[in-house]
C-alpha cells in the first residue's frame, strides 16, 4: 500500500495519467484507474493577515492524492518534491 501525493502541470495532464477514457452515448466518460483517487486540484496559499480580506496565491500544478497497491511507475515522476512539512490532505 502506497500513498502518492502527486502534482501535475494541469488537470488535463492528470486525467491522462489517472483516468481511462471511454465514449458513452457520444460523450467522453472518465473512469478512474485507481479506486482511491482524491482530487485536490489547485492549492492556494492563504494570507489571513486581514481575515476579512484574505489573499489567495495559487500554487503551481494540479494536485491529486492516491492510495494504491500496484501503480504505473510513470506516476513517480509526478510525486510532490520536495515534500512539505504538513500535507494539505492525507488518507484517514
Amino acid at each position: 500500500m502506497t500513498d502518492l501525493y502527486l502534482k501535475f502541470a494541469d488537470q488535463t495532464e492528470a486525467e491522462v495519467h489517472l483516468y481511462d477514457f471511454t465514449e458513452v452515448d457520444g460523450a467522453l466518460q472518465l473512469t478512474p484507474k485507481y479506486l482511491n483517487t482524491d482530487v485536490l486540484g489547485t492549492l492556494y496559499n492563504v494570507d489571513n493577515t486581514d481575515p476579512e480580506n484574505p489573499v489567495y496565491t495559487p500554487l503551481d500544478g494540479w494536485h491529486v492524492n492516491l492510495r494504491v497497491g500496484d501503480y504505473d511507475p510513470a506516476l513517480d515522476a509526478f510525486k510532490v518534491n520536495p515534500e512539505p512539512l504538513i500535507w494539505r490532505r492525507v488518507w484517514a
Binding site: 500500500m1 492556494y44 492563504v46 489571513n48 481575515p51 480580506n53 492510495r67 497497491g69 504538513i86 494539505r88
Partner: protein, 747 residues
C-alpha cells in the same frame, strides 16, 4: 450434507483503504479496527514482501498449458519443420480437456542440426532452475524426445510412453529458456505427443504444478484446510540468513500480534520475528515445525512479549508472537532455519517451508485471519443506532474528505470571535471527555469560532456538520459564508426540538437542506447543506453559540455556552460518518464489498435477489443496493434506490433490458425490503418493494456470465455507493411467485 459456519470475511470480499468511524454497540462513535495491517498477507511472492536470500517458488513460464500461444516459439532447423500444435486435443492429467497435441517433424535429416522444437524464453534467472512437462504419446507408442533447460549442456533424452508422465530436468544458472526438441539423431522423423503442464521453477525440484496464463504465478500448496493457498518459501544458495519481510507503520507503545501459518518442507525449522524500525530490538520465536517445540530470541529490550505455537491440521503450525512496538515501524519477518535457532547457513538453492496467512493485528492475541491484497484490512463498519442501540447493518459509504482541520479541537486552528473555548470539557459522543465547550464572552455581538480560507472552485455543494450538546444555552448554529460575510447562510437549531431558523444573506450561498440527528446523552448532530456559487473563491465555516432566546447576537457572560464536538465540512449533498482530523484534511476511502464466489448458490436461469437496507434519504443520486453482474451493465440483476427515493431495478441480458415498473414506494431513510425476481418465464421479471408488487415484464433471456454480487455499489465497483446500511442480502435460486415476493418484502 453438513453445515459449515462461515464468517463475514470468508464470504464477502471487503476493503476500505483507510480508517473510518461508526457508532458501536454502546452507542459511541469509534474508529474502525485494523484487523490485518499487512498487505498481500498471503502473497509473500508480491513485491510488498522483501525476499532476502530467499524466493517464493514460482512457475516462471506463461501459458503453461497453451502451447499454441505465441509465448511458445515453434522453431526448426536443418530439414526440420516447425511443430504443429493443436490446442485442447486430449484430456490432461487433471481431467480437463486442456492437453495440446504437438507434432514434431525433424524432416529426413538425421543430424543434430535437423530439429523441430518448441521453446519459451524467460527473463534470465541467476540460479539453477528445474523445468518440467507432462508428456504422453498420442497413439500410445513409445518415443524419445529431448528436454532442455538453459544452455545446451543441460538436455535430457526423455522416453515418452502412452501413459502421462511428468519429466523434469535441472539446468545450471543462468537460465533463459526451456525447450522440447526432436533432434534428427535422437529419434524418429515424426514425434506425435500430447503435452501439458509446462513449468520452470528456481531450485532443484520441479514443485507441484501451477497453471499460468499471461503471467508467472507462485506455485500453490495445500493450506491447513487442504485449500491450494499456501506458498513455498525457499532458500537461495548463499551463506546468509534466508528470510522474507515487510514493514508497516504502527503506533509506538502499542502491543501488536504477528501470526503466520507454517509447515515443514525440506526445511523443518523457522523463525517468526518482530523487529523495530532501526533494528535496535527484536523478538522472535524459533519453531521446530515437526513438533511445535519453540524457543524465543530477543535483541535489545522488547517489551510485553509473548509467543504461542498452536497445532493446526495438515502439518501446519500457527506461530504467533506479540510485542509492544518501540517505534512507528513494525518489521514482520519469517526466517528459514537449518536448525532450531540457526538463521545463518549455506542454502542449497531449493529447500524451503510452506507459508500462509500472515497477519499483524492489534492486541496480544492472534485474531481470526483476514486476507488482504493491496490495502490493510480495515474492518467493515457494522453500525448501531446511537439511541436505541439497535443494529443498523453494514455501513457502505463513498469516499469523502473532511476539509476542516482540528475537527475536534476548537482551541487550535479555529479562530474565536467573541468566544472562548474550554477544551475537553465534557463526555463526548465518542465516550471520552473530548468535547469542548464554546463560551460566549461578555461582549455584545455574535459568538462563534471559524475556519476560513477553504477554497472553492466552480459551483459546489457543501455539507457542514457538527455535534452539539446543550450546556447553559440550548441553541447552536452553523454557518457557511464568503470571506467577508457579505454572503452567508446560517442555520440555528433548538437542540431540544430540532426546530430551525435560517438566516441567509446575499445570493451566492444557498441553503439546500438542514437536519438534526439525535444521539444519546443529550448530543445531536446538526447538518446543513448549501450550494456555493462559482463566484466565491473561498468559504468560511462557522460554529455559533446561540442564546436561549434563539438570538445569534447577544451579550454573553463569559461562562455560559454550548458543548461542541466533531465539526466536518464535506463536498457533497449530505453528511457522512465523522472523519476526525488534526493538522491536515483527512480523506476516508470508500467501502467496497462484494461476493466473488457464486458457487454453489447462484442460479443463472432463475432467481430472486432480496435486499433489506436503509438508503440515505438525503442523497440525490442513484444508490445501489445490490447487483449481480458481469462487471458491466450488459448483464446484470440490479436493485437500487433511484433519485426520487423510490426503489428501482435493472435486469439486462446481453445488453437487452427487461426492466419491470417499480411501485412508487419510498425506501430512502427507512428500513426497507426489496426483491427482484428474474427468469424467462412469462411475467418472470418483477420488483417487490415493502410488500407492493411492481409491473412485471417478460425477459427473452436471463443475464449470462454473472461473476459477482456487488454490495452497495454499481456494476463497475467504483461509484453509486449506497451511503447507507445493508441489513440483509439473500439470493433465492428460483423465481418467487408474486405472492411470495409480496410476502417476503412486507415490513
Amino acid at each position: 450434507m453438513g453445515l459449515v459456519a462461515k464468517a463475514f470475511q470468508d464470504i464477502i470480499t471487503f476493503s476500505r483503504a483507510t480508517a473510518g468511524t461508526y457508532v458501536n454497540s454502546n452507542g459511541y462513535i469509534t474508529n474502525s479496527s485494523v484487523l490485518n495491517y499487512l498487505t498481500y498477507s498471503n502473497a509473500p511472492d508480491n513485491a510488498a514482501w522483501t525476499k532476502s536470500n530467499s524466493f517464493v517458488q514460482t512457475n516462471l513460464l506463461t501459458y503453461s498449458q497453451e502451447l499454441d500461444n505465441a509465448a511458445w516459439n515453434k522453431l526448426s532447423g536443418g530439414t526440420g519443420v516447425v511443430p504443429v500444435v493443436t490446442a485442447n486435443y486430449a484430456v490432461a492429467p487433471d481431467g480437463t480437456l486442456t492437453a495440446d497435441r504437438v507434432v514434431f517433424d525433424r524432416g529426413t535429416g538425421t543430424s543434430s542440426a535437423d530439429v523441430s522444437y518448441i521453446q519459451q524464453n524467460v527473463t534470465s534467472v541467476s540460479a539453477d532452475c528445474t523445468g518440467s512437462f507432462w508428456l504422453r504419446t498420442t497413439d500410445g507408442s513409445t518415443k524419445n524426445i529431448t528436454l532442455r533447460v538453459g544452455t545446451a549442456t543441460f538436455n535430457y533424452a526423455v522416453t515418452v510412453t502412452g501413459t502421462w508422465t511428468r519429466v523434469s530436468l535441472t539446468g545450471v544458472s543462468p537460465i533463459t529458456r526451456i525447450d522440447l526438441l526432436a533432434y534428427g539423431d535422437r529419434g524418429p522423423q515424426v514425434i506425435d505427443l500430447l503435452v501439458w503442464g509446462a513449468q520452470l521453477v528456481q531450485g532443484s525440484v520441479p514443485g507441484d504444478y501451477q497453471a499460468t496464463t499471461s503471467a508467472a504465478l507462485p506455485v500453490l500448496y495445500a493450506d491447513y484446510q487442504g485449500n491450494l493457498r499456501a506458498r513455498k518459501l525457499c532458500e537461495a544458495a548463499t551463506t546468509a540468513s534466508h528470510n522474507v519481510s515487510t514493514s508497516v507503520t504502527v503506533a509506538a507503545g502499542t502491543v501488536y500480534t504477528l501470526s503466520v501459518k507454517l509447515k515443514a518442507a525440506e526445511r523443518g525449522f523457522a523463525q517468526v520475528r518482530y523487529e523495530n524500525g532501526g533494528s535496535t530490538e527484536f523478538f522472535a520465536a524459533n519453531v521446530n515445525l515437526a513438533t511445535g517445540a519453540y524457543t524465543t530470541s530477543t535483541f535489545g529490550t522488547p517489551t510485553q512479549t509473548n509467543a504461542v505455537v498452536t497445532m493446526l491440521e495438515n502439518g501446519y503450525w500457527l506461530v504467533s508472537i506479540s510485542a509492544a512496538a518501540s517505534n512507528t515501524t513494525f518489521v514482520t519477518a519469517v526466517f528459514l532455519q537449518s536448525a532450531l535457532g540457526t538463521n545463518s547457513y549455506t542454502g542449497d538453492g531449493s529447500s524451503g517451508i510452506y507459508i500462509a496467512d500472515a497477519q499483524l493485528n492489534d492486541g496480544s492475541t492472534a485474531l481470526a485471519y483476514y486476507d488482504t491484497t493491496q490495502y490493510a484490512y480495515n474492518a467493515p463498519r457494522f453500525d448501531y443506532d446511537p439511541v436505541t442501540l439497535a443494529a443498523k447493518g453494514l455501513l457502505i459509504e463513498e469516499q469523502r474528505a473532511n476539509l476542516l482541520l482540528q475537527s475536534n479541537d476548537f482551541a487550535t486552528t479555529w479562530t474565536p470571535s467573541r468566544a472562548t473555548v474550554t477544551s475537553n470539557a465534557v463526555l463526548s459522543p465518542d465516550g471520552a471527555v473530548t468535547a469542548d465547550k464554546l463560551i460566549a464572552t461578555a461582549v455584545a455581538g455574535t459568538h462563534r469560532v471559524y475556519q476560513s480560507g477553504i477554497t472553492n472552485s466552480g459551483t459546489t455543494t457543501r455539507t457542514l456538520s457538527a455535534y452539539f450538546k446543550a450546556a447553559e444555552y440550548s441553541y447552536a448554529g452553523l454557518m457557511l459564508s464568503d470571506a467577508t460575510e457579505s454572503d452567508q447562510n446560517r442555520v440555528q437549531w433548538n437542540l431540544a426540538t430540532g426546530a430551525t431558523t435560517n438566516s441567509p444573506v446575499g445570493t451566492t450561498i444557498t441553503l439546500v437542506s438542514s437536519s438534526m440527528q439525535t444521539l444519546s446523552n443529550g448530543w445531536v448532530r446538526c447538518i446543513m447543506t448549501c450550494t456555493v456559487d462559482a463566484a466565491e473563491p473561498s468559504i468560511t465555516a462557522w460554529l455559533f453559540v446561540i442564546d436561549n432566546t434563539n438570538a445569534s447576537t447577544f451579550t454573553g457572560d463569559g461562562v455560559s455556552g454550548v458543548y461542541a464536538y466533531g465539526a466536518q465540512l464535506e463536498t457533497g449533498a449530505f453528511a457522512t460518518s465523522y472523519i476526525p482530523t488534526t493538522t491536515s484534511q483527512f480523506t476516508r476511502a470508500a467501502d467496497v464489498a462484494s461476493v466473488n464466489t457464486l458457487s454453489p448458490w447462484f442460479n443463472a436461469v432463475a432467481g430472486t435477489l432480496y435486499v433489506e437496507s436503509i438508503a440515505n434519504a438525503a442523497s440525490p443520486a442513484n444508490q445501489y443496493l445490490a447487483t449481480l453482474n458481469d462487471g458491466t451493465t450488459n448483464n446484470r440483476v440490479t436493485l437500487f434506490k433511484a433519485t426520487g427515493g423510490t426503489a428501482n431495478s435493472r435486469v439486462t441480458a446481453a445488453g437487452v433490458a427487461s426492466n419491470p415498473t417499480a411501485p412508487a414506494t419510498t425506501i430512502a431513510g427507512i428500513t426497507s425490503k426489496v426483491a427482484l425476481t428474474f427468469s424467462t418465464a412469462a411475467s418472470g421479471v418483477n420488483i417487490y418493494v415493502n410488500g407492493t408488487a411492481g409491473t412485471a415484464v417478460t425477459a427473452a433471456a436471463t443475464p449470462a456470465g454473472i461473476l459477482r454480487l456487488g454490495l452497495g455499489l454499481d456494476e463497475t465497483a467504483s461509484t453509486s455507493f449506497l451511503n447507507g446500511h445493508l441489513r440483509r442480502v439473500t439470493f433465492y435460486p428460483r423465481q418467487m411467485t408474486s405472492g411470495e415476493g409480496t410476502a417476503l418484502t412486507t415490513l
